[in-house]
C-alpha cells in the first residue's frame, strides 16, 4: 500500500497560510488607510501611503539599502558557510560532532548578546583596538557602530550558524564516492569541487541563501543596535514609524512593501533556478 504522502503536507501548509494571511491581512488593510495620529486610522480607502512611499527617495533608499545589505550579507554567509559545512560533513575525526554542536549552540545565543559581544570587541578601549594600535596596524580605533559594514558583520554573525547547519545537511547528501570517482578519473581537487560538489549542492545552497536573505530582510536588532540610529533599514524604519510616530498606516505600508519585495526576490530566485535546471537538463 502506498501512503498518500502529499496529504501530509496539507496541515503545515494550511497552518502556515493561516498565520501568514491572518497577520498580513491586518497590515494590508491598515496600509490602505490614512494615519490620523496616535495610532488611529481614517475610514476611507486610500493609496496615499503607497504614493508617498514610492514618490519619496528616502523610503526607496531605505528599501534599496535593506535589499543590498541582505544580498551582500547572504553572499558573504554562503562564501564563509559552504567551506565550513563541507569540512564538517567530511570530517572523520571525533571533533566533527563537537564542532557541529558548538555551531548549533551558537545559533541559540540571542542576537542581542551577540551584538553586545561585537560592541565590546570593537570598543575604542577594547583589547582588539589596543593591540592593533600598539602594533601600528591602525592609526584610529576600528569601530562598527553606525556603519553599514558593521551592520553587515552583525547580520553575518546572526545568520551564519543557521546557514552552516543547513548547508551541512546538504553536504551530507552528496555521496563521498562521487568525489573519489572524480579524483580517480584525474580531476584535481579544485576541479572536483567546481564540477561535482558545487553543482550537486547548488539547489541546497540557493535554498539556504534564500533563508539567509529572508532572515536579513526582516532583521531588526543588528540594524538597530549596530546601526546606532544611522543605518535606517526598512525594519528599523517600520519600528520608528509604528512605535515612535504611532503612524500605523504608514508602518503597515512599509511592512507590506518589505514582505512583497522579499517574496519577489524569492520567487525570482526559484524561477531562475528552475530555468537553470531545465537548461542543464536539455544540455545533458
Amino acid at each position: 500500500m502506498t501512503l498518500p504522502w502529499p496529504r501530509f503536507l496539507l496541515p503545515p501548509l494550511v497552518l502556515s497560510l493561516a498565520l501568514l494571511v491572518g497577520s498580513m491581512y491586518v497590515f494590508l488593510k491598515g496600509s490602505f488607510h490614512a494615519d490620523l495620529g496616535v495610532g488611529r486610522l481614517g475610514e476611507a480607502f486610500t493609496l496615499a501611503n503607497y504614493r508617498k512611499l514610492f514618490a519619496d527617495s528616502f523610503y526607496l533608499n531605505s528599501l534599496w539599502l535593506t535589499v543590498q545589505l541582505s544580498a551582500v550579507t547572504t553572499l558573504l554567509t554562503i562564501v564563509v558557510g559552504v567551506p565550513v559545512a563541507y569540512v564538517l560533513a567530511r570530517m572523520r575525526s571525533r571533533w566533527g560532532p563537537v564542532l557541529l554542536a558548538v555551531i548549533v549552540a551558537a545559533s541559540f545565543v540571542t542576537i542581542v548578546i551577540k551584538v553586545l559581544g561585537l560592541n565590546i570587541i570593537f570598543a575604542a578601549n577594547g583589547g582588539l583596538n589596543r593591540l592593533l594600535l600598539e602594533l601600528g596596524m591602525i592609526a584610529q580605533p576600528l569601530t562598527i557602530a553606525g556603519k553599514v559594514e558593521g551592520v553587515a558583520i552583525g547580520l553575518l554573525y546572526f545568520t551564519l550558524a543557521f546557514i552552516v547547519i543547513l548547508l551541512y545537511s546538504v553536504m551530507l547528501t552528496i555521496p563521498r564516492s562521487l568525489e573519489e570517482a572524480a579524483q580517480n578519473l584525474g580531476a584535481s581537487r579544485w576541479r572536483m569541487h567546481w564540477r561535482v560538489i558545487l553543482p550537486l549542492a547548488l539547489p541546497g545552497i540557493i535554498a539556504s541563501g534564500l533563508i539567509g536573505f529572508n532572515l536579513c530582510m526582516g532583521a531588526f536588532t543588528s540594524a538597530a543596535l549596530i546601526g546606532a540610529g544611522k543605518i535606517l533599514t526598512l525594519p528599523v524604519l517600520i519600528q520608528r514609524t509604528v512605535i515612535f510616530d504611532t503612524k500605523y498606516g504608514m508602518g503597515a505600508t512599509l511592512a507590506v512593501v518589505l514582505l512583497v519585495t522579499g517574496l519577489a526576490v524569492n520567487l525570482l530566485s526559484i524561477l531562475l533556478v528552475s530555468r537553470l535546471n531545465a537548461a542543464r537538463g536539455m544540455t545533458a
Binding site: G37, V38, G39, R40, F58, N61, S62, A123, A124, N125, G126, Q140, P141, T143, A145, G146, V148, A228, G229, K230, I231, L232, L237, R240, V242, I243, F244, D245, T246
Partner: protein, 353 residues
C-alpha cells in the same frame, strides 16, 4: 482615684479614639494590584523602594511595566481600551499624544494633597509632575584638552572637525531629543515651529552614534568610543558616581542657559483601581520620595521642599543640576504643542546614511 488619674484615663481614651479614627481613614488596597508603566534600567526598582512600598504597606501590590514612554504609549494604543497598566510615567511629548488619543483619565486633585509643595504649573487634572531633568552635554575634559578643543557650551559646538566620529547624540526614541532640537533651533534664531536650523545642524554634526538609553551613552564615554554626548544632568550624576572622568555642561540656547525637561504621571483611562493610582501619584510627589529619587537617580525633584533639601545636602546634585528657582526662569522650556509635527521624519532624513 484622684482627679489627675481620671484626667489621665480620659486623655488616653481620647488618644486611642483619635488613633482609631486615623486608622479608619488610612486607605487600604487589600487585594488590589496597581500596574505602573515606567522606565527600566533600575528606575523601576527605585520607584518601588520609595513609592510602591507605600501601596504594599496598605495591602496592595504594585507591578511595573517597563519601557520607554513611547514603547508604553504603543502598548496602550495596541491594547484598544483594555489598558495594560493604570499609571503611566511620561515625557511631555508622550503626554501630548496620550491626550490627543484620549487615553488619560481625570485625576481628582483633592486626592493629591502633596501638590501643595508643587508649582501650580506642575499639575493639572490630567497630569502631575514627577520630576525634572536638565538637558546638556557630558564630555571627557581630558580628551578635549589633549585635542585643543574648548569645553562645549551649546550644541552647535559639537560641529567641530576635531570631534568627527567622537560625538554621541540622543536618538529620536530618547525622550529628550525634541528639547535638544528646539535648543539648537532657538540658538540659531528659530523656535518650536521653525526647526529647520536644528535639522541642518544635526546633519552637520553627523554624530557617530545615536543612543536610545542614557546608560549606553555613558558606556560609550567610559569605553572611549566617543568624547562627548548629549545627556541630562541625572546621567551626569550617575556617571560621576561611577567615577568616570567626565564633566557636564548645561547647554545654551540663545540667552537661555540650560533646558528643563519635565516628566509627568497620568492615570490611564479605564483603570479599575483609581484610588490606588491617585494614592501612588500622591506618594510619588511626597518630599521624602522626591528627595530619594533625586539622590538615587539624579533627577531634580518637582517638590520644592525636596529640592531645597537636596540643594542643602547633596554635593553631587549641586554640582550637576540647576536647583535655584530663580535660575529656572532663565532655562529653556519647550512648548511641546507647538513643535513641528514633521520633526521625526526630518530628523530621520538628516541622520540616515
Amino acid at each position: 482615684m484622684n482627679v489627675r488619674g481620671w484626667a489621665g484615663i480620659v486623655a488616653a481614651l481620647g488618644l486611642a479614639a483619635l488613633a482609631g479614627t486615623a486608622q479608619a481613614q488610612e486607605p487600604r488596597f487589600d487585594g488590589q494590584t496597581l500596574r505602573v508603566a515606567t522606565f527600566g534600567g533600575g528606575w523601576d526598582k527605585a520607584v518601588q523602594e520609595l513609592i510602591g512600598v507605600e501601596i504594599e504597606k496598605r495591602g496592595g501590590k504594585v507591578v511595573y511595566v517597563t519601557g520607554s514612554p513611547r514603547d508604553n504609549l504603543a502598548k496602550l494604543i495596541a491594547s484598544r481600551g483594555n489598558a495594560p497598566f493604570d499609571v503611566i510615567e511620561m515625557d511631555d511629548k508622550t503626554y501630548l499624544d496620550a491626550m490627543q488619543g484620549n487615553l488619560l483619565d481625570k485625576i481628582r486633585l483633592d486626592r493629591i494633597p502633596n501638590k501643595k509643595d508643587l508649582d501650580a504649573a506642575d499639575y493639572s487634572d490630567t497630569k502631575v509632575g514627577a520630576w525634572v531633568v536638565q538637558e546638556g552635554m557630558l564630555y571627557l575634559p581630558e580628551k578635549f584638552k589633549e585635542a585643543g578643543i574648548p569645553p562645549p557650551t551649546r550644541y552647535s559646538d559639537l560641529d567641530n572637525p576635531k570631534l568627527a566620529g567622537k560625538v554621541s547624540f540622543a536618538d529620536l526614541a530618547a525622550p529628550g531629543t525634541i528639547h535638544i532640537l528646539v535648543s539648537m533651533a532657538v540658538d540659531k534664531g528659530g523656535d518650536e515651529t521653525k526647526m529647520q536650523p536644528a535639522y541642518a545642524e544635526i546633519k552637520k554634526i553627523n554624530a557617530a552614534r545615536y543612543w536610545k538609553l542614557g546608560g549606553d551613552a555613558i558606556n560609550q564615554l567610559a569605553n572611549g568610543d566617543v568624547w562627548v554626548s548629549t545627556l541630562h544632568q541625572g546621567h551626569a550624576a550617575q556617571a560621576l558616581d561611577k567615577g568616570l572622568p567626565v564633566a557636564f555642561v548645561h547647554a545654551r540656547s540663545g540667552d537661555k542657559v540650560g533646558i528643563l525637561r519635565p516628566g509627568w504621571l497620568g492615570i490611564v483611562k479605564g483603570t479599575k483601581v483609581p484610588d490606588a493610582a491617585e494614592f501612588f501619584i500622591n506618594a510619588y510627589i511626597e518630599a521624602k520620595a522626591q528627595e530619594g529619587l533625586g539622590v538615587k537617580r539624579g533627577v531634580v525633584p518637582v517638590n520644592a521642599k525636596a529640592r531645597d533639601a537636596i540643594a542643602a545636602g547633596n554635593a553631587r546634585m549641586k554640582e550637576t543640576a540647576i536647583l535655584k528657582a530663580d535660575q529656572w526662569n532663565k532655562m529653556l522650556r519647550v512648548k511641546m504643542d507647538k513643535v513641528d509635527p514633521d520633526y521625526s521624519e526630518q530628523v530621520n532624513r538628516a541622520v540616515a546614511k
